[in-house]
Structure formats: structure tokens, C-alpha cells
């Protein structure tokens, strides 16, 4: 789950990590109030979960509260990279001497957190790793041990920070590391960690992605997620125990198992089809969950063909068939539905479909089913 900049900064601030003074608002009146309290120049930052906000006009600096109000009004009626701006963060604009990069993430292969720093702050770290890889230093942290003093020394040496900022840097990094652990972080990025003209280190921008698997133990984060997703299809899907990712194509997919769902999308592409979604109904799905999944797919106006691919282990093909029939009886559609059922109770599943009034095309293999579904999307 991605957190907004203001949410991440809220967490950092609670952990005594220096962030610019500021507050978030959803109205231009709120913006004026905040600007008045802050005084001086104000940085106005659209709160959208995409990178490159600055280049897309999502970050502005204004001189007074009137400009702040106008800027926020404009932002709130606009979209950044297709995402509508609902909240804006206003902060004291600071005079910056240097910008550094500081990030903490997980190295999957080693199974260890890794601290990444670079002198190239304020730019995309992926770009830096292509253009100036020698400026990037990584330090792997053993969970039983934490960040050692020699590791701090290595990092500081590579950053050439003034010596009177050394202790400050060490404290900020230690606290960031603690936040990373405490909040089940997948990525915690401070970019830039700025050295102000007055000689202080400040987290000028901060971004955190938290592990979805850890959300159950962070009620605060869970409520942030609820706000974000409330009416979307993804939320409904999640509630029903379905993994769902919307895509650009026209063939709706319903599969049991993440790897099989990805493979199903891949095979569709081989036949010239484009998946409209990734959808994993999970193991042992009962008819109700299958019906929810089908409604999700049927609710997408771009869908011109549907492919259901089930290889049942604990999932029973008769349960899937019942769910499909229910969904199609409730919401009859002219969209062609191709179904492949294999594994547990496949004969019973076929029987249920054949004896129902709904029209689906049964296919014996994933390969055949994908071919049929792709052709059906073309003909539609």
C-alpha cells in the first residue's frame, strides 16, 4: 500500500525526524488558512500517488496566501497523470544548499533490509543508477544487529556531509530504520534529504510503501487504505478475498491462482488478445465469491470477451460452475464467455453448466480456451 507524502511525513514527524512545517487540506480556504499560519514562501504540493509530480505541474511555490488559495483551487480541479487531485500539502518553502537521496528497502535475495544513499537527491534513483551509479552506496543491515557504526561511517564518507551534520544524519537514519521496521515498510524513501542554507537536514519529500501483509497489525494504516479504496472495484474485490488488478484490454479473466492467472494473460496475448484485468479468486472459492468476481468483470464496459480458467485442487469445479451460472443468470450478457474447468469435480462442473440456461463455451485446455476467448473478443 502506498502512502501519500503527507501521511508519510506525519509518521516521520511523530518519530522526531525533521520535516518542513506544513499541513494538508482539501479546500482552497484551508490552503489560505495554512499559508497564513506558515507565513513567507509556501510550497504547494498535490497529494497524488505518482512519481514526477513536479514535472507535471503538481508542485508549485507561491509567495502569499492569496496565491496559495488560487494554486490549490487550480490543483483541486485538475488531475496529475490522470489521477484527480483531492488533497494538497502546503509547507514552508525552505532554502536548500544540497539534496541527497536516502532510502530503505528490502533486498529479497539476501533477505535483508538495505539502506541506499546517493549524493544525487531530488532525482529518480532509477535514473541515477543508470546515469551515475558510482554515486550510489548500499549498506545491508542484519536484523539481529541493526546499522553498525562502521556502516554509518561508510555512508557519511560517500555523502561528504559537513562534520557538524554527521550526528544529525546518523540519528535521522536510525529513526528512519526504526520506522521502516515498525510500520512493515517495503520502501521508505526520503528524496531529497535536504541540507538547508541554515545548516539543518530536513526530509523535504518522503514516500513510504508498506507491506500489505502487515496491514492487519496497523489499524491506522488500515483506515488510510479504506479511505483510499472505498468505492472502487479493487476494494470490493479485496473484501471478497479476490486479488484484482485492472488492465487496459478487452478480455476479462477469472482464474484460480496468481501464477496461473498471469500465465493465462500471457497465453491470451500469444493469440492476439489483451487482458482487461488480472483476477485471482484464490483457493477454495465458493459460488458466492465466483459470482462477485464475475460481476466485477461484467461491470467493466471495455470487456468484449470473458475467459474463466480453473485448475481445481481445493477449488471445486462444481462450486465455480454454480457461481458462474448464478452471476450470468442475474446479469445476462451478450459478452461471450469461454470456460475451462479442470481438476476437482470437473465433470460435475461441466454438467451444471450444460444443464443451465446460460450460454458459455466450454474448452478442454488453457490453450484452447485462450484461443477461443481471443477470437471472441475480435469478433465482438
Amino acid at each position: 500500500m502506498k502512502l501519500h507524502e503527507y501521511q508519510t511525513k506525519g509518521i516521520l514527524s511523530e518519530a522526531d525526524i525533521p520535516v518542513p512545517l506544513g499541513d494538508v487540506t482539501e479546500t482552497s480556504e484551508g490552503a489560505q488558512r495554512i499559508a497564513q499560519e506558515l507565513g513567507g514562501q509556501i510550497a504547494v504540493k498535490a497529494q497524488v500517488l505518482v512519481g514526477g509530480r513536479g514535472k507535471s505541474g503538481g508542485i508549485l511555490v507561491v509567495d502569499d496566501l492569496i496565491e496559495a488559495g488560487r494554486a490549490v483551487e487550480r490543483l483541486l480541479s485538475s488531475a496529475i497523470k490522470g489521477i484527480p487531485v483531492k488533497q494538497v500539502l502546503l509547507e514552508q518553502a525552505l532554502s536548500i544548499k544540497r539534496e541527497l537521496y536516502l532510502g530503505i528497502t528490502l533486498d529479497r535475495e539476501r533477505g535483508l533490509p538495505v539502506v541506499i544513499v546517493s549524493t544525487e537527491g531530488g532525482v529518480d534513483i532509477e535514473e541515477t543508477s543508470q546515469a551515475l551509479p558510482e554515486t550510489i552506496v548500499k549498506v545491508y543491515v542484519h536484523p539481529c544487529v541493526g546499522i553498525r557504526s562502521y556502516q554509518f561511517r561508510n555512508l557519511l564518507k560517500s555523502l561528504s556531509l559537513p562534520s557538524n551534520n554527521h550526528q544529525e544524519f546518523i540519528q535521522i537514519l536510525e529513526k528512519l530504520y526504526q520506522v521502516f521496521w515498525e510500520f512493515d515498510g517495503a520502501l521508505l524513501e526520503v528524496n531529497p534529504l535536504a541540507l538547508t542554507n541554515s545548516g539543518r537536514l530536513v526530509a523535504l519529500d518522503a514516500k513510504m510503501i508498506v507491506d500489505d501483509n502487515g496491514l492487519f497489525r496497523h489499524p491506522v494504516l488500515l483506515s488510510m487504505q479504506r479511505e483510499e479504496l472505498d468505492e472502487t472495484a479493487e476494494h470490493q474485490a479485496r473484501q471478497a478475498g479476490i486479488s484484482h488488478v485492472p488492465l487496459e484490454g478487452s478480455i476479462g479473466c477469472l482464474v484460480n491462482g496468481a501464477g496461473l492467472a498471469m500465465a493465462t494473460m500471457d497465453v491470451l496475448e500469444l493469440f492476439g488478445g489483451a487482458p482487461a484485468n488480472f483476477l485471482d479468486v484464490g483457493g477454495g472459492a465458493k459460488p458466492e465469491r465466483i459470482a462477485v468476481a464475475m460481476s466485477l468483470i461484467l461491470g467493466n464496459p471495455r470487456v468484449r470477451s470473458i475467459l474463466v480458467n480453473i485448475f481445481g485442487g481445493i477449488t471445486r469445479c462444481d462450486d465455480v460452475a454454480r457461481g458462474l451460472v448464478t452471476a450470468l443468470e442475474m446479469a445476462p450478457t451478450r459478452v461471450p464467455v469461454t470456460v475451462r474447468l479442470a481438476g476437482t469435480n470437473e465433470t460435475e462442473g461441466h454438467r451444471i453448466i450444460e444443464e443451465s440456461d446460460v450460454t458459455v463455451h466450454l474448452a478442454p485446455t488453457l490453450h484452447a480456451a485462450a484461443q477461443m476467448a481471443a477470437a471472441a473478443a475480435d469478433n465482438g
Partner: protein, 289 residues
């Protein structure tokens, strides 16, 4: 022949009195797996699976009364890590964790602990493993597999079943099928299993099934080039997956070029692995090899 599990495997089922544990324990028993005990704290003294399996309060107690060497975990995510630690601490040498949804940072600590203890872990978020005709530990359906000499190592669940079934239908039985799981930080990885298949006289052909995310397939490719002289056939799912989105599995997310399916496919191919374009092609490639 087989790797990791065979007819000498004696299994404890952690979480045996829960819905998943009970259901799958019964399936394993009917497959012929030797389940010697179950563990559910607070339910020690009961019997599970129609009275066939004694239940204990702890793994240590179970080990005092049985000769278990393997444990399989069907415990909800918030308690699963504790179950893994407990099994390892008590001296179980192979722990198989089926549970999905374990926080990744918990697994970081768990993996470090298990390395210190020398405990082998399969999973988490794994369907388990099966040595057809000998033993099944997990949820892989027994009826799709047949004994033979193809070793399978996979990050997926049902996609693995698809491949097992395809091979069985073509008369290519399997030595052992191992689901290493779909999470970002896991116990035994591709390289660990490939090493075992290379050393196993009963495995003559290896199938590797990967997904987007991480660099496990790339490490596997290098290992294959250096150390594996048996033919390897592979498939990587997720060519059509977008960047930055979790595709079901916690580990199936492209977060940099190395996570892309096309990068993994290229690397595996360059190291001598025959890559299938679609799952049904794997059996063709294995049989034709």
C-alpha cells in the same frame, strides 16, 4: 528417488484442528503420507482425522512422543511465524509453510533464525511438495502426479498443478515437485532445489516455473550454467503484467528491470534452459528432449 521427502518422512501437522489443517491432513493421510502427530496449543490429548492422529500442545511435546522429522504449517498468517520458529527450535529439520499473508519483515527475521539453526524451510505461501507414490506434504492434489524422473521447482500453486498434469498426461512422471512459494522472502529458493535435483539420481530432467519479481530466476540461471548438467525446461509467468503492481503473490511485482518476465526469460535461455512460450508447451519440450 526423490528429494526432501520420501517414504521415511514423518510429518507433524501444525494447526491440525483448524479447518485447513484438518482438511489437508486427511488428504495427505489418504495419499499415504505418514502423519505421526498434530500440534494445536490447548488441544493436546485430542485425536484428529477420525482418531488416527494424536494432537499435542507443542512441537516439542510431539517430538518427545513421535519421531517426526518434518512439519507442515496450516496456521493463520499472524501466528505462522511463531509456528515456524517453534518447529525449528524443537529440532524439526524440514518445515513446510503453506500460509499466505505473512508480513515480509517477519520472514526476514525468520530466515536469519533458520539459517542459524540449520533448518530447511519450504515456503511460505507455498502449496508444499510431493514425491509421487511416496509422500505428499502440502496441498498439491495427489491424483494429478505420477512417479517418474522429472523434477519440478516452482513459485506458483495452480500453475504448477497445470504443469504436473500436463507431464502426467504425456507419460512423464515426476520425482519430486516443490512449490517454493510466491512470497518475496522465502526459505529454500530455486538454487537450493536445483542443487538437490542435480544430485538426485532419480531426477533426469528439471522443470523450473518462475514469475515476475525479484531475481531468483536470474540466480537460478547462473547456477544452471555452472553446476547443472541435466536438461532444464522453464516457463516464466507474467510477460503481460504491468510495472509496480502486486499480481496476487506478494513476490509477484515488477519493481525494476530485473523483475520483468522478459529479463528472466532471456537470462534463463542464455544459460541453456529451454523456455516454453506457454504452460502446455512444457510437456512437449520435456518429452521431446
Amino acid at each position: 528417488m526423490a528429494i526432501l521427502i520420501d517414504k521415511n518422512t514423518r510429518v507433524l501437522v501444525q494447526g491440525i484442528t483448524g479447518r485447513e489443517g484438518e482438511f489437508h491432513a486427511a488428504k495427505m493421510l489418504s495419499y499415504g503420507t505418514k502423519i505421526v502427530g498434530g500440534v494445536t496449543p490447548g488441544k493436546g490429548g485430542q485425536r484428529a482425522c477420525d482418531g488416527r492422529v494424536p494432537v499435542f500442545d507443542s512441537v516439542a511435546e510431539a517430538l518427545a512422543s513421535t519421531e517426526a522429522n518434518t512439519s507442515v504449517i496450516y496456521v493463520p498468517a499472524r501466528f505462522a511465524v511463531d509456528a515456524i520458529f517453534e518447529a525449528s527450535d524443537a529440532g524439526i529439520s524440514l518445515v513446510v509453510c503453506i500460509t499466505e499473508g505473512i508480513p515480509v519483515l517477519d520472514m526476514v527475521r525468520t530466515r536469519a533464525f533458520l539459517e542459524m539453526q540449520g533448518t530447511q524451510l519450504i515456503g511460505p505461501n507455498s502449496p508444499g511438495l510431493i514425491s509421487p507414490g511416496l509422500c505428499s506434504v502440502g496441498i498439491i492434489p495427489g491424483n494429478i502426479a505420477r512417479p517418474g524422473s522429472v523434477g519440478i521447482v516452482s513459485r506458483s500453486g495452480t500453475l504448477t498443478y497445470e504443469v504436473i498434469y500436463g507431464l502426467t498426461q504425456r507419460g512423464s512422471g515426476q520425482s519430486t515437485c516443490v512449490g517454493i512459494g510466491g512470497d518475496p522472502v522465502i526459505g529454500m529458493g530455486f538454487v537450493d532445489i536445483l542443487r538437490l535435483f542435480q544430485e538426485d539420481p532419480g531426477t533426469s530432467h528439471i522443470v523450473l516455473i518462475g514469475e515476475i519479481g525479484g531475481t531468483g530466476e536470474q540466480h537460478a540461471a547462473k547456477f544452471i550454467r555452472e553446476f547443472v548438467d541435466k536438461p532444464v525446461t522453464g516457463f516464466v509467468a507474467g510477460r503481460t503484467a504491468p510495472h509496480g503492481k502486486r499480481m496476487g503473490h506478494a513476490g509477484a511485482i515488477v519493481e525494476g528491470a530485473s523483475g520483468l518476465a522478459v529479463e528472466k526469460i532471456k537470462m534463463l535461455q542464455s544459460c541453456g534452459v529451454r523456455m516454453a512460450q506457454y504452460p502446455d508447451q512444457i510437456a512437449d519440450l520435456v518429452v521431446g528432449a
